[in-house]
Every structure is written in structure tokens, then in C-alpha cells.
């Protein structure tokens, strides 16, 4: 991609051209390597949107919650882009999740952009591809860019790591489930939501989350943001305005506490560079016409070789 094309596409995005954005995200999904100069330019122009990650286990009601949040922002006049990432699906969400059905109330609203991504690309590449898609969206005149992902595993965490503020949605759970879910989530969430708050265990779940947050803050005295725990009933729209306000407070906190913000953006960028670096290495190996691992597979299968030896040999050829 030459400089003229980069400038034309960047200008279209700056002007808010949604068709250009959709086409670029498709090219990112397909692993189009020619986009790097554009992404470099877009990254340097971005940073003006409020980018929010939303994650939580399947069945927690995230999609409904996100749709309600979008409606709230729209009444405030904010323009919103939603990127829904499904690491468990090999299909692009356009077909499977039915974006337009899923968030039908926003389908005809030009101030809302909704796009799904799924793991069409190679293993581990989805988080990187989602990061690239966010670079595109963040270069556009959205007030809010929301990236939503299903699940609580590592890859889901990886996807929301691109967002400076992360909302973690939980359902009311029994004691054992909270135990199982607990250890990692205070590392991820800035705002916690217990959805389906009419459930009898909702208050117990809120208390357990507050305990875990208090523990995490004792372990990390350098953190100045105290994550709130909110109750919502997304289906009824209850608690959504309070959630939107809590997200605003979180952004305001990071704006007024640069050391908090810098520590977190440092972690985010270290991770992001690592992702891009892995992608570059894979491309370099492919571009050099290296046959890669394939000729060495039979010996590995017969256990006449081993993965450590094969990896060393490949590394010598990259270097």
C-alpha cells in the first residue's frame, strides 16, 4: 500500500466512512499483510475515542447489556462502534451471530457501527486481528469504541487487553463457581457487573467480588482505581445508566491519575508489540519460502526427533 492510498483511506476513516471501515476489517480478518503502512498511520492518529472492553462467561447476558449501554450512549448523543469477538467460533460473526438481528434496535442508526470478528485466521491470531480492527475504529470519529468478547479464558482476556477500561460481567453464582472464576478476574476488570440481579445469589456474588477486589488492592497498593461492583438487569434496562456513569468515572480517574494510566498503557503496549512481533516472524518464515516444520513431522511422530530440537533448527533458519 503506497502513501497515496494510505492517505486516502485514513482520510475516509477520519471522515467516518463506515463502508471503508467494514472492508478494512474484513481484510484484517483475512490476514492481508499490505495493511501495515495504513495501520501505522492510523495508530498515530488515534487515541481520541473511549475504548471499552466487555467480557464475561457465556450466558451472562453481555450482548443485551451492550445493546442497552449503546442505547444509553445514543441518548447522550455519543457515536458508538461495537466490535464483537468470538474466539470460540471459526465463523465470522456476520453470518453466525447475526449482528443486525442481535442489536436490531441500532440497525438503522447511523451513529452506531456493529461488527463481529471470529477466529477465521490462524490460532492465536484473533487477538492480534482484533487489535488491528480497533486501530481502524479508533481512527474514526466515534465517541465510544466497545470491544466485546465471550468467555473468561486467556484469549478473551487477550482481546479486552486492548481496551484501557474493561467491564467484567458476571452472573450470580454459587460459592464454588466464584472460587473457580476468581483468581484472574481482578487483574482484568475495572468495573464489575453482576447481571441478572434479581437472582437470589446476586447480593452474595456482589459481596464476594468486593472481597476479591479489596484483596487485590491490598496486593497492589500502587493501583489508585477502586473497581466498583454494580448490579444490573439488562433485560429490563435496570442499572444501565449507573453502569455508563461508572465507566465515565473510570475514564475520568485515569485522565487525572497519569501514573495509573501510564502503568496500564505500558502493559497494554508491551503485549501489543509482542503480538505484532510474532506475526512478523511467521510472515518472515513464510516469505523466505522456508518449508517450515512439515518435512520434520514424520520423525517427530516417530519420536526420533523432538519439538525442542525442531524449534531450534527453525530458529537458526529465521535468524
Amino acid at each position: 500500500m503506497d502513501a497515496v492510498e494510505v492517505e486516502a483511506l485514513a482520510a475516509a476513516l477520519t471522515a467516518g466512512d463506515q463502508r471503508v471501515a467494514a472492508r478494512l476489517i474484513t481484510r484484517i480478518e483475512c490476514g492481508d499483510e499490505s495493511l501495515v503502512p495504513l495501520l501505522q498511520a492510523l495508530y498515530r492518529r488515534g487515541g481520541r475515542t473511549q475504548t471499552i472492553g466487555v467480557t464475561g462467561p457465556p450466558g451472562a447476558g453481555k450482548s443485551t447489556l451492550v445493546s442497552r449501554l449503546v442505547a444509553t450512549w445514543r441518548t447522550q448523543g455519543r457515536r458508538v462502534a461495537v466490535l464483537a469477538v468470538d474466539p470460540s467460533s471459526p465463523f465470522s460473526g456476520g453470518a453466525v451471530l447475526g449482528d443486525r438481528v442481535r442489536m436490531a434496535e441500532h440497525a438503522c442508526d447511523d451513529g452506531v457501527f456493529i461488527r463481529s470478528m471470529a477466529s477465521r485466521t490462524h490460532l492465536g491470531g484473533l487477538a492480534r486481528a482484533a487489535g488491528d480492527a480497533l486501530v481502524v475504529l479508533e481512527a474514526m470519529p466515534w465517541d465510544v469504541v466497545l470491544v466485546e468478547t465471550v468467555g473468561v479464558g486467556q484469549n478473551e482476556t487477550d482481546v479486552v487487553r486492548h481496551a484501557p477500561v474493561v467491564v467484567l460481567v458476571q452472573t450470580p453464582m454459587g460459592g464454588d463457581d466464584v472460587q473457580a472464576a476468581k483468581a484472574g478476574i481482578t487483574e482484568i476488570g475495572d468495573v464489575f457487573v453482576v447481571n441478572k440481579a434479581d437472582h437470589p445469589q446476586a447480593d452474595a456474588t456482589v459481596r464476594q467480588l468486593l472481597d476479591m477486589i479489596a484483596l487485590a488492592l491490598r496486593l497492589h497498593p500502587e493501583r489508585q482505581w477502586q473497581p466498583p461492583v454494580l448490579k444490573t438487569q439488562a433485560l429490563l434496562g435496570e442499572g444501565i445508566a449507573e453502569l455508563a456513569a461508572a465507566i465515565d468515572r473510570c475514564f475520568a480517574h485515569f485522565a487525572s491519575h497519569p501514573s495509573d494510566a501510564e502503568r496500564r498503557s505500558g502493559a497494554r503496549l508491551r503485549y501489543r508489540v509482542g503480538e505484532v512481533l510474532r506475526e512478523l516472524l511467521e510472515r518472515r518464515l513464510r516469505a523466505s519460502g522456508d518449508p517450515g516444520i512439515e518435512p520434520m513431522l514424520p520423525a517427530l511422530q516417530r519420536r526420533e526427533s523432538d519439538p525442542y530440537t525442531v524449534a531450534s533448527q527453525l530458529l537458526e533458519r529465521i535468524g
Copy 2:
């Protein structure tokens, strides 16, 4: 590690020394780089155990199911090692999961080895570390090596990818939840279990899984194994003998269908080599005293640079 030490440790493992295994797994967790010559030797001696992966969402009853399966194998005289991996936890499971409590019935049985691993190591390193731990266990005289992981995300999938046969445990779910969980699981599971089968939605969940499996087999006519869907009530021990038998049938199938087995072990080994290669690259950068990304972070944070440029610069220095 020199050849004499490699030989001594390998001999101890071959003889079934569980204390040596436990110590080596701790060193793997801590990222001990000196183990590579040992792992090379162990991989080449392994391959005699039946290695089984078990995964599924939190709350599906996997731990109880695994404990019951172990009991069944013990009545058949089989010796069993269990590696429990928790990607959501920053703590090693020895403390948090309470291995000895969790599977108390096997605590005094010398024919059972139980060990937890958690993400003490750097991001993404847990699947690789679990793979190394399996290399240790597979070099020992176990009949069955079982690796269990919590969750349905990418990292959980990565962990069970090391096992030639994967059991996917589900709970009875409503239609929407199956939809959300569905797209990826037929890529992972060889044997499906609907636990808590007394639930009113159990039969509906079985039917949905069977439909998904049928679809996956139509999409992949090269696959000759038809994954069964079993109902269990792990708490009561119901369906466990049938599950053990189904796992045996799956191993027998792959033994008698080498093209099925080779295609799958090829995918497994490609992934494994990729993991080891990434680890080697990170080590090389550290060992060269390269300051890495740190000096470049401020410009990134000010958006005067971008992750694509920084990654290219790092790659030049590795190369």
C-alpha cells in the same frame, strides 16, 4: 544440564519416581531453561501412555468426573497421573485448588499422581509449560496421563491440544447457551459428556451436541471417528464406566486408523513446535541483553510511534 544428569533423571522417571517428577514440574513452572536437554531425551522415550485431555466450562463438574474416572481406572489396575491446569489463576494449584483435598480418595494411593499448574509464568506460557510437564509424565510408567483444564477459551483449548484424545464436559444448557458455546467445540472434543444428567434439559443438550457433531462430520468427511455423547452424573458415579469405555474405544480407533491419528498428531506437533519456538525467541532476546521494548514505550504512549514500527525494529535486532 549435562548428559550424566539427564540420564540419571530420565532413569528415575522411567522407574516411576514421583518426587523427581514433582520437582521437575516445579522447575518447568518457574521457567527453568536448563531442562531442555532432559525434555529432548524424555520426549523421545515417551509415547507409551494414554494421554487424555478433559475440558469444559467452570461448574460443569469436571473435578468430580475426573476423580470418578481415576477410581474406575484404579479398579482396572491402571496407574494414573493427573495434571490440573488453571489458566485463570496466577497461583500454583497446590495451594489454591488443594489437590490432596480435591481428590482426597486418591491421596494415599501410590498408583495415582496429582499435580496442579497455574499461570505463574508469563502470558501464554502456561500451555507450553503444561506441554513440558506432560513430556515428563509421559516418560513415566503411567497407563493414563490426564490433563484437565478449566474453561472453554483459547488457552484451555491450547492446553488440551497436547492430548491425543479430548473429553469435552458440558452441563445441560438452554438453547442460547449451546449456540454460544457451539462453534468451536466439535474441533476439540473426541468424546462429549453431558454431566448433571438429571437436569431437565440434559436430553435436549445431548441432541444439540449430536446435531453439531453430525454437521462437523459432514464438513470434515476425512474424519473417521464419530464422537459419542454420553450422559453422566459424576456425583453419583453414574455413567462413568461407560465414559471410560468410550475413551478406550477412541484410543482403539486411532490405533486402527493411522491416517486419522497422523493427521491429528501432525496438527498437535505443529502447534507444539510453534510454542517452543516462541519461547526460544523470547529467551534469545533476553540473553542478548537487548533492552527490548522498554525504551520505546514513551513514544508509543504519546503515539509518536506505533506497535508495527516497534515490532519491526525488535525483529531486526533478533535477526
